[in-house]
Symmetry: C2
Subunit: 340 residues, 2 copies
């Protein structure tokens, strides 16, 4: 086995970031930290933010994929279109038409001729990112520099100087979490200070595994949300800010990622018989209470999340010999569970 987990490790003391005595006591794995998180660290996802896609696959019969929609203010033009398309039952009897290995699964109207409801928003390229808003900060957790010791930034960010950020890559200067999602954050020199301070500038969601976006043709405003895709491979971060993201698959991603790959260009299925029928797409809030899924995400403001993220960056559970000392932001997926 690659990873061995022992239940008794849950009882072991936490030593996150601290110098380990010799021999180092066992410390919990990220999933053990999540399993031990108290009820108060979990946040219910509103039924109006859950999009339920029921598909018919040869392998499993009918199965459900659940998408958590991005919270305001992100991508709300497209998210609003998606709510209208679901309310109009527009996707019923459409299909999954494209499965490209290590990239995306894409669904919508295979004929590309089905008219969409009148009045869908046309969202310009500027909708791919948001201006930073200080009001965002109370519920944000900035992970650019100090993942093991999170802090709420008070209007400025530390300059990107050594020691190296624990989360670093060429795609963004900083990262933050909010509402169950990770975001990239750019920064600019603060105009109001002569000190070496950086002010958060633009904020955008990230193309990590299981993220859901809006297919489009060449014009940046061409996508309505009727054509959607989900990431099923290594994070294609080059798409960040080049296409709209609208949510994340929080349940059933394996129903998409295990589909047969399409053999046509870009992984499109070459015959109608290969397409995967979509039975219905609904918001959970449009279903009777008894039929709704009840999902929760681990609050990114919580101590449990901080511990989880630190453990992702520095695996000290017994299998690991050499903690990395850092982590790719897409290797810190926000944990989701069924409400107990």
């Amino acid at each position: 086995m690659i990873i061995r987990r022992t239940a008794s490790l849950l009882l072991a003391p936490l030593l996150l970031g601290a110098a380990s005595p010799d021999p180092a006591p066992a410390v919990p794995s990220p999933s053990e930290i999540v399993a031990a998180a108290p009820a108060g660290d979990w946040v219910d996802i509103a039924p109006s933010d859950l999009l339920l896609i029921d598909v018919k696959t040869g392998r499993d019969g009918t199965g459900r994929i659940v998408i958590q929609l991005l919270p305001a203010p992100f991508s709300q033009g497209w998210v609003g279109n998606i709510r209208r398309l679901a309310a109009a039952h527009w996707w019923d009897a459409t299909s999954i038409n494209r499965v490209q290995d290590d990239y995306v699964v894409q669904w919508g109207d295979a004929s590309e001729k089905k008219p969409v409801p009148a009045g869908l928003a046309v969202v310009p390229q500027s909708g791919y990112e948001q201006a930073y808003d200080p009001a965002m900060f109370d519920r944000w957790w900035i992970g650019g520099h100090d993942l093991p010791a999170p802090y709420v930034a008070k209007g400025h960010l530390p300059a990107p100087t050594p020691p190296a950020p624990i989360v670093a890559d060429p795609y963004a200067q900083y990262y933050a979490f909010s509402g169950g999602f990770a975001f990239g954050v750019s920064a600019r020199q603060s105009a109001t200070s002569t000190e070496q301070r950086l002010a958060p500038d633009r904020v955008w969601p990230l193309h990590c595994y299981a993220m859901v976006g809006v297919g489009r043709d060449l014009p940046p405003d061409a996508g309505t949300g009727a054509e959607l895709y989900a990431v099923i491979g290594h994070a294609p971060r080059q798409l960040d800010r080049n296409i709209a993201l609208v949510g994340r698959v929080v349940s059933g991603i394996e129903r998409l990622s295990s589909l047969p790959r399409g053999t046509g260009p870009l992984g499109f299925y070459e015959t109608a018989g290969e397409r995967v029928p979509i039975v219905s797409v609904r918001l959970a809030s449009d279903l009777p209470e008894g039929e709704r899924p009840h999902l929760q995400y681990l609050s990114t403001d919580s101590a449990s999340f901080a511990r989880y993220a630190a453990a992702r960056a520095n695996r000290r559970d017994p299998f690991y010999l050499r903690p990395a000392g850092g982590v790719d932001i897409c290797n810190v997926p926000v944990p989701v569970r069924k409400r107990p």
Copy 2:
């Protein structure tokens, strides 16, 4: 569609890294650059470095997965064991036993009782990485700082100062390619110079998509190579230098990545009936010439590869509005093709 490619773009001029006139002419996508690479930029993979796994899946009948083994000096203890196991037909009638979404597919002897051939090497933890050897350099291509303008480092590396590296993450200081694979490189202050120079120190392969590694229990030398896994999700780079890598799936990864996910702990299949039978595992060199696959990788020393990598870091084909200006090393997979 997420990405639209037009064949006529192949004729457009290259403008990699140059300031674009307004309006910018269309430039090729990474796959168009690869398609246009001259024959001399492709390197045959030796049949003795290709491991062929024939499996029986419910969906496709019998299918083949091809793994390119890591070149010397990397992981050669385990690679040698794998050659012996294949020669002994040890994997015949074993199975794929684990498929964990966004992580790995794992195969070997489900009973964990089948004896391995006598005399397999026991490789210590030190085998997870190699000391940098200056002789490596002639065929290395250091991509830490100047992916668009590659150079062969002459015994030293540029210090990690601004401008930011085009390839950067928290897992390694530098990256290099050799023999069709990407490697992480650590650096230390050069002892022979008072200048700000860094000397390459340790070198190790990376857990990118489709990489193949050696399952093990807790002791770092516990894995023989009989139990193997392939990465089928976002790169689990936390495993780098914590477990041995031995190669990369260069053909047929979709046969692994599209398998049903296991429902047991860690994605293990819960019943024998779910396991995917392995019919045979052979080195291509052990097959008659007429039955061998003939594969090539794009030389990482070639101008085509430099152009390809630069295009991965700065998409300027028409779909893209905002080139990233950098790239995750695992988003620069070395292209492989059938020999024409």
